[in-house]
């Protein structure tokens, strides 16, 4: 399964590993408390004391970016995980039931698709209140149809695939064939989609924080940091620049890896 990583992909992989490490053990990267306000050092420019400077509360930006990795990535990651599970359930159900049920499910997904994603999330957040979890659920709802469609298509494709037929020909039961062949083979494209979606969802999650509907202060979350920085843009550029760079780099890395996974998954179809 693990094939050599293309040389061009190394920076992305390394970045991802670093980000994951930041999210898991932020202490490795900074000793500073991300929430420690230092009223005597507000808007300190980047320098030896504060690598990336400080924000309007004198909080160390590097520390906040490091500690911000977890909530920033968690929203996207959680949303995609929920969407994947939900999508898998819906997709498999639709594919298995077929007929009218399939039609109804597909239509419902279309309804979800037809509502602009931000509105959908707004609605969920409005119902559940702002915060990490509601943002996650809202965003999950946005990407669920994509997963459901892919899962459904994969199940249908694999069910008709000659090697699945061949396995049945050996006398395996339907369940055994599903466990042995359908699920593992569907996993490739679904995981590839998940990775690509993850990038988009992280951007979406940060947009939510930007509008103030994500994690609440003082949680260091990149989107929220950007939103806060906007008010002080005329005083200092660094609080607005670095979280944006972090966000962009994270999404770039994830998307690059996702596209590679997608290519591999596509390659297998041929």
């Amino acid at each position: 399964m693990i094939r050599a990583i293309r040389p061009g992909l190394w920076p992305a992989v390394v970045l991802l590993v670093v980000l994951a490490a930041m999210a898991a053990v932020p202490g490795l990267f900074t000793g500073a408390d991300p929430d420690a306000a230092d009223l005597n050092a507000t808007f300190a420019p980047p320098g030896p004391d504060h690598w990336l400077g400080t924000d309007e509360n004198g909080r160390d930006l590097w520390a906040r970016i490091v500690h911000g990795a977890r909530p920033s990535l968690l929203i996207g990651g959680g949303a995609v995980a929920v969407a994947l599970l939900g999508g898998a359930v819906v997709g498999v159900t639709a594919a298995q039931l077929g007929g009218l049920a399939d039609q109804a499910l597909s239509r419902s997904l279309e309804v979800l698709l037809s509502v602009p994603w931000l509105l959908l999330v707004f609605l969920v957040v409005a119902v559940m209140g702002p915060g990490t979890f509601p943002a996650m659920v809202g965003l999950a709802l946005v990407s669920l149809p994509g997963f459901a469609r892919v899962v459904r298509a994969e199940v249908l494709r694999l069910r008709a695939a000659p090697f699945v037929e061949a396995a049945r020909g050996f006398g395996w039961s339907r369940l055994q064939v599903t466990v042995r062949h359908v699920v593992p083979n569907a996993l490739g494209p679904v995981l590839a989609l998940a990775t690509v979606t993850l990038g988009a969802t992280i951007v979406a999650g940060s947009s939510l924080s930007f509008v103030g509907l994500g994690p609440q202060p003082p949680t260091a979350e990149w989107g929220a940091m950007l939103a806060a920085s906007r008010r002080t843009l005329s005083v200092a550029w660094w609080p607005a620049a670095f979280p944006g760079v972090a966000l962009t780099l994270a999404v770039l890395a994830i998307t690059a890896v996702g596209q590679e996974l997608q290519r591999r998954a596509d390659g297998r179809h041929l």
């Binding site: 399964m1 695939a161 000659p162 090697f163 037929e165 061949a166 396995a167 049945r168 020909g169 050996f170 006398g171 395996w172 039961s173 042995r180 062949h181 593992p184 083979n185 297998r268």
Partner: protein, 525 residues
């Protein structure tokens, strides 16, 4: 004797990072003759042909001592010069007409393209000319066909349209790269006749093919190519009748096929198809009767060949035999009990007794699996203990002539022939009574086809397994079958002992099929 239209001396083509694709070939093409370059895939024959029009590929380096067209040197040609040559002086026909005609454009527009580009007729007359060309290429109702899209035409018509487009600007040379490979036998024959007719009218034709039958049908002169060099040249008849090079002999042998002796005795029936009917609903409330009242017996240790052209319903029959689809009527009985009567465990056990070998073996392999796991899967089912599986797997590979070294490879890492052998080994793993083989060799090169068919034959001799061989290729059927059923439009139009059907066909369709096959009718074989 006029001067040759094309003169090629010591043509060499390299691709960076690869072995040289063409390593010094020389040939000439005279007006009014058909010159064939024969070889298997990867031999460099297509690259040779494309080099003549400067389309060997962006990364290709083409060198030649001489590369002349009508005495003009082509080696230093600039893009403009090449474009003036292409289409106008040299027409090019590619293998798969469905892919070679732009699917988004009308057939007429495709044929008109060289006309407009080279302004061979005034633009007002383009339409009329297109229809004339189509008619000339043997396309009925050209005014209708010109307005259709490629996918709306049958394979034969499409290939004719493609030829019409290549000939549109009245080129002096027509290069045809595997022009008939995708076609059914009868259609193939018609297309070849069309090409021959053009040659007789004076057009020079360079024919690229892997099929010696095609060569025998129309070529005047033949070059046998292998690994980038010509291993044998000569007049077609001489090369086919008295091949000098060993490789040529292999090719000729593979193409000619041989008959096998039918085992004597009155065999028992293992699998019986009774009045099978299977219909499919098509869009627009049409109903396709894919299989329409088909009955036959599969006898123990013998081979039933089912012959038919594409769309005749033979693949559906295969699936019905496997019990993978339910017939709308009739039944398939394995040792007397019908698939439809079996349930659960019984059904699964019965399934093991009928195994399938597919046209594309890779499709029947889980892409994640190595050969070892692929073989372990059926072995698990029949309860071979894990400890013995490795030995069994190696043994199975041995039976199909594969080395156990391949056990750790994935399907994609195998060659076409290796993959199909592995598929056979896999089918054998359950120790089945019947193997249904659906076009098992049609995707393979000629010499590999012969080898794989040999594997089938050997196994049957050793294990007394029954085969149902489904193929459009009469050569394949002839090679293996004891009994033959000829299918057309979902029905069996004729069936019987192989010799009887092949030597004295009763149904006109069977006759037509047999006639159309461009086999090497060489008396001494």
């Amino acid at each position: 004797m006029t001067a040759p239209l094309v003169t090629v001396r010591d043509l060499r083509v390299d691709f960076p990072g690869d072995v040289a694709a063409v390593r010094g070939v020389s040939f000439t093409v005279d007006p009014g003759t058909v010159v064939a370059i024969v070889g298997e895939s990867g031999s460099g024959k297509s690259v040779t042909a494309r080099s003549l029009v400067g389309l060997a590929g962006e990364r290709a380096t083409v060198r030649a001592k001489t590369l002349e067209f009508e005495g003009h040197d082509l080696t230093g040609l600039d893009p403009r010069g090449w474009r003036a040559l292409r289409g106008r002086r040299v027409g090019f026909v590619l293998q798969d007409a469905l892919a070679s005609l732009d699917p988004l454009r009308r057939v007429g527009a495709e044929i008109a393209e060289p006309l407009r580009e080279h302004r061979t007729v005034p633009s007002r007359q383009v339409r009329a000319e297109v229809e004339r060309l189509l008619g000339e290429a043997g396309v009925p109702a050209p005014e209708v066909r010109a307005r259709q899209y490629p996918h709306e035409l049958s394979g034969g018509l499409r290939q004719r349209a493609l030829i019409a487009s290549a000939l549109a600007a009245r080129p002096d040379l027509l290069i045809a790269d595997e022009p008939t490979t995708a076609l059914d036998a009868t259609v193939q024959r018609q297309v070849l006749r069309l090409l021959r007719a053009r040659a007789d009218e004076g057009t020079a034709i360079l024919l690229i093919t892997h099929d010696l039958g095609v060569v025998a049908e129309i070529a005047d002169h033949v070059h046998v190519m292998r690994d980038g060099v010509f291993v044998e040249d000569g007049p077609a008849r001489r090369v086919l009748e008295a091949p000098e090079h060993e490789y040529t002999r292999t090719l000729v042998g593979a193409a000619a096929g041989h008959r096998r002796a039918t085992p004597p005795g009155e065999p028992a029936v293992v699998l019986r198809a009774e009045n099978l009917v299977k219909t499919f609903r098509l869009p627009g409330k049409r109903v396709l009767r894919a299989v329409d009242g088909v009955s036959f017996d599969v006898e123990a240790g013998r081979t039933l060949g089912i012959v038919g052209e594409s769309g005749s319903g033979k693949t559906t029959v295969g699936r019905l035999l496997m019990g993978l689809t339910r017939p709308d009527a009739g039944s398939v009985r394995l040792d007397g009990s019908a698939w439809t009567e079996l349930r659960g465990r019984d059904l699964r056990q019965a399934r093991r007794r009928v195994q399938m070998v597919y046209q594309h073996p890779l499709g029947s392999f889980d892409p994640r699996y190595t050969a070892r796991r692929l073989l372990a899967e059926p072995l698990d089912v029949v309860g071979v203990p894990e400890a013995e599986q490795a030995d069994r797997a190696a043994e199975l590979l041995g039976q199909v002539g594969l080395s156990p070294d391949l056990l750790n490879r994935r399907g994609r890492e195998l060659s076409g022939g290796q993959a199909q052998r592995l598929a056979i080994a896999r089918a054998l793993a359950c120790d089945p009574d019947v193997i249904v083989a659906d076009e098992p060799v049609s995707a393979l090169d000629a010499s590999v086809q012969a080898q794989v068919l040999d594997v089938f034959a050997e196994i049957q001799e050793r294990r007394a397994v029954s085969y149902v061989f489904i193929s459009h290729d009469l050569g394949v059927i002839r090679r293996l079958a004891d009994r033959v059923a000829v299918m057309k439009d979902g029905r069996i139009v004729e069936s019987g002992e192989m010799a009887q059907v092949f030597d004295a066909p009763a149904h006109p369709y069977t006759k037509e099929l047999l006639d159309a096959v461009p086999t090497l009718r060489l008396n001494h074989l």
